[in-house]
C-alpha cells in the first residue's frame, strides 16, 4: 500500500517532468547578454499590496511607465516591467529574478522589502536597487528614497481643521510604523496649529489590506462626529472611501470627506458626476521620485549609498488639487504654512506625541 503510493507520486513527478521538458525548448530570458542592450531598463518589485493598490505600488509604476515611454522603451526585457509579491518570502526571489534579467535599475517598493534588499544587494554587487520609504545604509548599490510625508500631512491637517464643521476630524493608520507615524504626527500637528481646539480621532487598523476593517473604523468615526477623515492605510483606506460614498449617496448634503494618500485619490471619491467625497490628497510623488532616480541612473548618476529625502521644497510631497473643496481663505493659510515649512520656520514633527 505504502510502496504503491510512493511509486505513484514519483511517477507523477517524473511524468510532469518529461512533459514539461518536452515542451521546453529553453530560451531562458535570463541568459540575455549584457552587450545586447541598447537602452536603460527599469523594473520594480511590489510589496504584498500588489501593482493596482491605487496607492504606493501603483504610483511607482506610473513613474516607471512614464520614464519608459519617454525613452521609447516597451514593457518586458530591456524595457520596463514589474513583479508582484504574493507573500513576504517572494521578495528575495522577485528581486533576484529581475536582476537576473539584467534590468539596470530595480525599484523595491515599501519598507517591507528592506531586509530582502539588504540581502540581495550584498549578493548581487553589480545590481542597482532603489528602495522606497526605507533607508538602507552601507550598500553602495542601493539608493534610498524617503519622503517627508509629515510636511504634506501637516498642510492636510491644517486644511481639515480649518474647514471642519464639527471641530472633529479623524486619522486612520494602517499599521504603526515610522512611516505611518510621520503621517499621523504631521496631520495632528497641522490641525492643532490651525485650530488648537480641534479634536483628532486616531485609530490604526492593524493592516494595509483590510477594506472591511477600514470601513468599520470610518463608520464609527463619522458616527461620532468626525467630518473629515485622513487615511494612511493603503488598501484598508478603500473602506473609508466606500463608507463616505455610501453616506453621501443616502444624503447628498452629508458632511463626509476623505483625505486620500500617496496619490491623488480624487477618482476613488467619485459618487456621481457632480459629487465627490475627496477633500484633497496627501501626495507622495513616488512617481516623480521614481522617474527622477531612473533618469539620474540613466545618466550615470545613480545615487548609490545615498538617501534622498523629498519634502515640500523638492515637490516630493504636496497636497492634491481639491477641485474647489478647499476655500480660498483656507488655501491662503495653507500657502502660508507651506512657505514657512519650506523656509524652515516650522519644523514638522516626525513622531506623534505620546
Amino acid at each position: 500500500m505504502k510502496k504503491r503510493k510512493i511509486g505513484l507520486a514519483l511517477s507523477a513527478l517524473l511524468a510532469s517532468g518529461t512533459l514539461l521538458a518536452a515542451c521546453g525548448n529553453d530560451d531562458n530570458a535570463s541568459d540575455t547578454k549584457k552587450d545586447d542592450k541598447k537602452s536603460f531598463s527599469v523594473a520594480m518589485v511590489t510589496d504584498t499590496g500588489g501593482i493596482d493598490d491605487r496607492s504606493f505600488n501603483q504610483s511607482t509604476w506610473e513613474g516607471i511607465e512614464k520614464f519608459g515611454k519617454d525613452n521609447g522603451l516597451s514593457k518586458g526585457n530591456n524595457g520596463y516591467d514589474y513583479l508582484q509579491s504574493a507573500s513576504e518570502s517572494d521578495y528575495n526571489t522577485n528581486l533576484n529574478s529581475l536582476i537576473r534579467r539584467n534590468f539596470d535599475l530595480v525599484f523595491a517598493v515599501g519598507f517591507n522589502l528592506h531586509d530582502s534588499v539588504v540581502e540581495v544587494a550584498k549578493q548581487q554587487k553589480d545590481a542597482k536597487i532603489a528602495i522606497i520609504d526605507s533607508v538602507v545604509e552601507g550598500q553602495d548599490n542601493v539608493a534610498s528614497i524617503m519622503f517627508k510625508a509629515n510636511e504634506a500631512s501637516y498642510l492636510a491637517g491644517a486644511a481639515a481643521a480649518l474647514q471642519s464643521k464639527t471641530g472633529k476630524i479623524g486619522f486612520i493608520g494602517g499599521m504603526e510604523s515610522d512611516i505611518i507615524d510621520g503621517f499621523e504626527a504631521g496631520f495632528v500637528a497641522g490641525a492643532k496649529a490651525a485650530n488648537p481646539k480641534v479634536k483628532v480621532d486616531v485609530q490604526y487598523a492593524g493592516s494595509f489590506g483590510d477594506a472591511a476593517k477600514g470601513q468599520a473604523i470610518a463608520k464609527r468615526m463619522y458616527d461620532s462626529g468626525s467630518d473629515i477623515i485622513f487615511h494612511a492605510a493603503g488598501g484598508t483606506g478603500n473602506g473609508l472611501f466606500t463608507e463616505a460614498k455610501e453616506r453621501k449617496k443616502k444624503d447628498p448634503k452629508a458632511d463626509v470627506w476623505v483625505i486620500g494618500v500617496d496619490r491623488d485619490q480624487y477618482d476613488e471619491g467619485k459618487v456621481d458626476d457632480k459629487t465627490n467625497v475627496t477633500f484633497t490628497s496627501v501626495l507622495k510623488r513616488v512617481d516623480i521620485a521614481a522617474e527622477d532616480v531612473a533618469k539620474q541612473s540613466k545618466d550615470g548618476k545613480f545615487p548609490g549609498g545615498k538617501t534622498i529625502t523629498l519634502g515640500l521644497k523638492d515637490n516630493g510631497v504636496d497636497l492634491a488639487d481639491s477641485h474647489g473643496v478647499i476655500t480660498s481663505d483656507t488655501q491662503k493659510k495653507i500657502d502660508e504654512y507651506k512657505e514657512k515649512i519650506i523656509k524652515g520656520e516650522i519644523t514638522v514633527p516626525e513622531k506623534p506625541e505620546k
Partner: protein, 348 residues
C-alpha cells in the same frame, strides 16, 4: 485493467488533465500556454538559484504537511498548524537573536524552542478535546487567530517596531556553501531536518508502541480504552507531536528563510496549505514529502511565470490550483477504483 497499469495511468492522466485545463485557461486569457509552462519549468529547475529556492519553499510545507498528517493518522483534525507554526517561528527567532551561544548549541536550542512553542500551542486544544470533549477544529481555528495577534503584539514589544532583530550567525541554518552552489538562493540546511522529520514520523507511527497506541486511539477510542490504553493522554500527546512538527516548520522560516520575524497582516498560508499537502500525501510521511515537493515546486515555479512569460499572478494562481486539484482528484479516482475492487473482494 491491471493494478500496475492503473497506478501509472491515473497520476499521468490527472497531471495531464491539470496541465491541459491550465493551458486552456491561459489560452483564453490571451497568454501562450507553452511559454507559461516553460516559465513554470524554469522556475523550478531552470537554474541552480531556482532549484535552491524551490527546495527552500518545500521545506516548511513538509513540516506543515507532517503536522496535519500526524494528527489525521491519530484521528484528529489539526487546523491550527498555521498558528503553531507562527508561534514556533517567533520562538526560534527570539532564541536566535537573544542568546549568544556556539552554533552546536544555538541551533538545537532554537529548534527546541520552536518545537516547545508549537507543541504548547497544540497542547491547549488537545487538553480541551481530551478532558472536555471540545472539538479540536473549533479550538485550533481560534488558536490561529490568537497566535497571529499575540505574535504581532510580542514583536512590537520585543522590537519596538516592525520586526525582530536578525538572528545571530550561530543560529542560522543558512550556509555559504549552500549559497555558493545555488547562486545565492536562500536554501538552508532545514531541508535535511525536514527529511529527518519525515523519517521520525514514520518511525513513531510504524515502529513504536507509542505510535501503535496513538493510531489505535485515533481509530477507535472505545476499543483502546477497553484494551487498557489511556485515551486522554494519547489524544493530548498526538496533538502535541503534531504541534511540534508545525513549530519546527516555523523555525525553518526563522532560522532559514527570513532570519527574523516581521509583524504579519495575514496568515502565512503555509499551515493551511499543509492540509492539502497531507491529503495529497495520503497522510503517509513519505507521501507528505512528495506532496510538499509538488506544492513547493508549483509555488516557486509559479513565481517565474509572470517574470518570464508575463502571465499575471492571478492567472498563475488559477493554473497552479487547477494542477493541484487534478492531482488530488486523481487520488480520488484511485481511491474510488480501490473501493470498487475491495467491494468485489468483500462479496467473495
Amino acid at each position: 485493467m491491471s493494478k500496475r497499469l492503473t497506478n501509472i495511468l491515473v497520476p499521468l492522466i490527472s497531471i495531464l488533465l491539470g496541465i491541459i485545463v491550465g493551458a486552456i485557461v491561459m489560452a483564453i486569457s490571451g497568454f501562450s500556454p507553452v511559454d507559461g509552462y516553460i516559465a513554470l519549468w524554469n522556475g523550478v529547475f531552470g537554474n541552480t538559484y531556482n532549484i535552491g529556492e524551490t527546495i527552500r519553499q518545500i521545506t516548511p510545507y513538509v513540516f506543515a504537511g507532517l503536522a496535519v498528517a500526524f494528527a489525521f493518522r491519530t484521528g484528529l483534525f489539526n487546523i491550527g498548524v498555521e498558528g503553531q507554526l507562527i508561534v514556533g517561528w517567533l520562538a526560534a527567532a527570539y532564541v536566535g537573536y537573544a542568546f549568544d551561544l556556539p552554533k552546536i548549541v544555538h541551533i538545537p536550542l532554537a529548534l527546541l524552542a520552536a518545537a516547545v512553542a508549537g507543541g504548547l500551542w497544540a497542547f491547549i486544544p488537545g487538553l480541551l478535546k481530551a478532558k472536555l470533549q471540545v472539538h479540536e477544529v473549533i479550538v485550533t481555528i481560534m488558536m490561529n487567530y490568537i497566535a497571529l495577534h499575540v505574535v504581532n503584539a510580542t514583536i512590537a514589544t520585543l522590537s519596538d517596531g516592525e520586526k525582530t532583530e536578525k538572528i545571530h550567525e550561530t543560529a542560522s541554518l543558512r550556509s555559504p556553501f549552500l549559497e555558493s552552489i545555488t547562486d545565492y538562493s536562500r536554501l538552508h540546511w532545514g531541508f535535511i531536518i525536514a527529511i529527518l522529520a519525515v523519517i521520525i514520523m514514520w518511525f513513531i507511527l510504524e515502529k513504536t508502541t507509542r505510535g501503535y497506541e496513538l493510531k489505535s486511539v485515533g481509530f477507535n477510542q472505545h476499543a483502546s480504552e477497553y484494551a487498557g490504553m489511556n485515551v486522554s493522554k494519547n489524544i493530548i500527546l498526538a496533538m502535541v507531536i503534531s504541534g511540534i512538527f508545525a513549530g519546527l516548520g516555523g523555525a525553518m522560516e526563522a532560522l532559514g528563510t527570513f532570519g527574523n520575524i516581521s509583524k504579519m497582516t495575514a496568515f502565512t498560508g503555509i499551515g493551511f496549505d499543509g492540509i492539502a499537502v497531507a491529503l495529497l500525501g495520503a497522510n503517509q510521511p513519505f507521501g507528505v514529502l512528495l506532496g510538499a515537493m509538488l506544492f513547493g515546486s508549483l509555488k516557486n515555479g509559479g513565481l517565474n511565470m509572470p517574470n518570464e512569460a508575463g502571465i499575471p499572478v492571478e492567472i498563475v494562481s488559477i493554473v497552479i490550483a487547477l494542477i493541484i486539484f487534478f492531482v488530488a482528484s486523481g487520488y480520488i479516482i484511485r481511491v474510488a477504483l480501490e473501493r470498487i475492487s475491495k467491494k468485489k473482494k468483500e462479496e467473495k
